[in-house]
């Protein structure tokens, strides 16, 4: 199953490589990984999407907790949570396809953030599933470049 694991860790040099190293050394898979500072400048928040059965996810969580720099690990998937991802995609447009594409962007609440003579740069935010669907809805031969941030998320309760 797909799990979103949120990791609060000391904002120290090398902390990111400890987590990345752990995943490769133990053969855990990473679908995406994002990391940035939080409101507390001494803490970073990392969000990892991984796929594995319950035993593997349990091991991932425990091994993360064992890292000295890690302050807290939450398996967001185990609670009510919100996940978001941001997509930037550049596509070919021409007068024939433009109307269709405009409609699709609308349907996915996307935004056109840059327009050139024959390209669009589009931004879509939402769950990864929605972003996949949006990309699927485009004509693959017209996609020039895709950049996704990977998932970030928080749990909905007051205390995470």
């Amino acid at each position: 199953m797909r799990h979103i694991i949120s990791v609060m860790l000391e904002n120290e040099a090398g902390a990111l490589s400890r987590v990345a190293g752990l995943f490769s050394a133990r053969g855990f898979n990473i679908e995406s990984l994002t990391v940035a500072a939080t409101n507390d400048p001494t803490l970073s928040r990392m969000t990892i999407v991984s796929v594995g059965d319950d035993n593997i996810i349990e091991q991932i969580v425990k091994q993360l907790e064992k890292l000295i720099d890690v302050v807290k690990v939450i398996d967001l998937t185990a609670t009510e949570h919100v996940e978001r991802e941001l997509l930037l995609v550049k596509i070919d447009v021409n007068p024939n396809t433009q109307a269709d594409i405009d409609r699709q962007i609308d349907q996915f609440s996307g935004k056109i953030i840059d327009v050139s003579e024959d390209t669009y740069l589009i931004e879509v935010a939402g769950q990864s599933k929605k972003i996949n669907e949006f990309l699927d809805s485009l004509d693959a031969s017209k996609i020039l470049e895709v950049s996704r941030t990977g998932v970030t998320g928080v749990c909905q309760k007051r205390e995470g």
């Binding site: 090398g14 000295i68 720099d69």
Partner: protein, 577 residues
């Protein structure tokens, strides 16, 4: 007080109670050596190879229970130390390794003797630090010792840039306490889990205690012995756990696993309740996981939550210091409520009567097992025995019954050839009044031979028992069993004259070729209280380690010497490591 970083470091180590540092100098640590040179309370042992320094610190730590300390320079100093660090990490040994680093302004420029120490060691340390500022040294040292010695212990590396050791700064003394929000090793034993465990124990008709290295490292020997005696349960111990419960006690079934006793493995297989104490279901223990302990409810006691359910699913886990958990069990257990296990013991005694440790002697050759038995006799079972890695290691574990913890010092997890000799040196420094024997092989001894020189310089007299079978015996055994006797590279033809070699290092060398000379030679060697003696014993070149669980087999499918012929080819054997 204004001090430079190196002086601060040494004061911190002093305040931490460090008495011995094993190390080797180089450019990046010259300031540290300069400060160490005027320190009168810390003895520095100048090894001949950085791997030797770390193994010696490791042997010191395993013997004394204290934190081992090693000091190495940047670049090759650090990379030489890595094998030692990984060895300590795999066996959860508390250790602090200080390495020099190039000056911070040139980090990342491929400077002379620069390696990314923190990067190289990341996966084989409990934690590591890069210190670039003299102001950070004191707190980092405090943290390093705290992390290394608490929770599940392990090695911690402090990589210090040369400029940080040179810079002068205001030093306010070594911190008395340390708190880390991201590391809280203290755990309260969960009474609920104790209750659940006891419910299983009370119903057990075929219980067994399976104890590992955690019982030794966690100083839980006394509690383990009490629990075992109170319950009357049989106990089996892993290679790493030997000595935590006395091997000569009648409740002890000996070691379990690949080369464990028949009774231990059969009892594990048939058991309905396994109390796992500080052990981690290593592949050398479990054999084929699909056939592992099919009838048992498993209770798992460990300080490290990540060991729970990692290999084998368990019914009840109890997280905590092994000693605390055992105390809680002892207190809560009403032994009157336990099932009668007489018939279980009867079954176990039947297995025992198979006498799986029996071996056939041969006229005219010395059997390696006989050597270990003689060593046991001559040292009255009271020596600290370190070992290298190979067949001799298994024979030492099998034929020298350890009755006390911290007497059996070996690289169980990583299986590092070369560990034995420097570890013996560390053990001797930790416990100078006790006999220390290093059981080694003709292959292993040559991996850290240079430490013979250190041992002369620092007067650490140990007795080196070289089981000289003229082979990388363990490799040869596997090639015999699993590779149709194709002996690729396992024959050591060009062995040195070990007697002369020992003598050239200033030690005594004795060669034993006949069984009749064995015991007299050992007696003579151990009489030499203040000399290192190298006893080179020519043993049966083709002897194999039995009993053995062949790969793919379960605990109940052991091969016994004499009874079973090992199939000479076994495809699944090829998958084993």
């Amino acid at each position: 007080m204004k001090l430079n970083g190196a002086q601060i470091l040494i004061d911190c180590l002093k305040s931490e109670g460090v008495k011995h540092i094993f190390g080797y100098p180089g450019g990046a640590v010259l300031h540290i050596y300069d400060a160490l040179n005027v320190c009168t309370v810390i003895d520095h042992i100048l090894v001949r190879h950085e791997q030797g320094a770390v193994h010696a610190a490791d042997g010191y730590a395993r013997t004394s229970g204290k934190c081992g300390v090693a000091l190495v320079t940047s670049g090759p100093g650090l990379t030489n130390a890595v094998t030692g660090i990984a060895t300590a990490f795999t066996d959860s040994i508390p250790m602090v390794v200080v390495s020099g680093q190039v000056p911070s302004p040139v980090i990342g420029s491929d400077a002379f003797q620069e390696v990314d120490a923190v990067g190289i060691t990341r996966s084989c340390v409990k934690h590591n630090f890069l210190v670039k500022n003299a102001d950070d040294i004191a707190e980092t040292v405090k943290k390093a010792f705290y992390i290394a010695t608490t929770g599940r212990p392990g090695p911690v590396l402090i990589d210090i840039t040369k400029d940080a050791t040179i810079a002068e700064t205001e030093y306010e003394g070594y911190p008395k306490t340390i708190k880390m929000r991201s590391y809280q090793p203290e755990v309260q034993v969960d009474a609920e889990q104790i209750k659940k465990a006891i419910a299983i124990i009370e119903k057990a008709k075929k219980p067994i205690i399976y104890s590992g290295g955690g019982s030794v490292i966690g100083n839980a020997s006394k509690a383990l012995t009490t629990l075992t005696h109170n319950t009357g349960f049989p106990i089996t111990q892993t290679l790493m756990g030997l000595g935590a419960f006395p091997a000569t006690d009648k409740q002890s079934l000996g070691m379990l696993g690949m080369h464990g006793t028949y009774e231990s493995n059969m009892a594990m297989h048939d058991s309905d309740c396994i109390i796992t104490v500080g052990a981690r279901f290593d592949d050398r223990i479990t054999g084929n996981l699909e056939k592992f302990c099919p009838y048992a409810k498993i209770i798992h006691i460990d300080i490290d939550p990540s060991t729970i359910g990692k290999v084998v699913g368990v019914d009840v886990s109890i997280i905590g210091q092994v000693n605390d958990v055992l105390q809680a069990l002892i207190q809560s257990l009403d032994t009157k409520k336990l099932e009668n296990i007489d018939s279980w013991w009867k079954q176990i005694n039947d297995w025992r009567s198979v006498d799986s440790m029996a071996y056939r002697t041969k006229q005219g050759v010395i059997k390696p097992q006989t050597v270990i038995e003689a060593l046991y006799e001559v040292t009255k079972g009271e020596a600290i025995v370190t070992s290298d890695v190979g067949q001799h290691q298994m024979w030492a574990a099998q034929y020298y019954p350890f009755d006390k913890p911290r007497r059996w010092i070996n690289s169980g997890g990583l299986g590092t050839m070369g560990f034995g000799l420097p570890a013996a040196m560390g053990a001797k420094l930790a416990d100078p009044d006790r006999d220390v024997a290093c059981v080694t092989g003709d292959g292993s001894i040559q991996m850290m031979l240079q430490e013979l020189s250190t041992m002369l310089q620092y007067h650490t007299p140990v007795k080196i028992i070289n089981i000289n079978n003229g082979y990388l015996g363990m490799v040869r055994q596997w090639q015999e069993f699993f590779y149709e006797k194709r002996y690729a590279m396992s024959y050591m033809d060009a062995l040195p004259d070990f007697v002369k070699l020992a003598e050239s290092y200033g030690h005594i060398g004795i060669r034993v070729e006949k069984e009749a000379d064995l015991k007299p030679a050992l007696i003579e060697a151990f009489k030499q209280k203040d000399r290192t003696v190298f006893i080179d014993i020519l043993t049966d070149p083709t002897e194999n380690v039995f009993p053995m669980i062949p790969s793919g087999a379960g605990h109940h499918e052991m091969l016994l010497a004499g009874r079973d012929e090992m199939a000479s080819t076994n495809d699944s054997g090829l998958n084993l490591v």
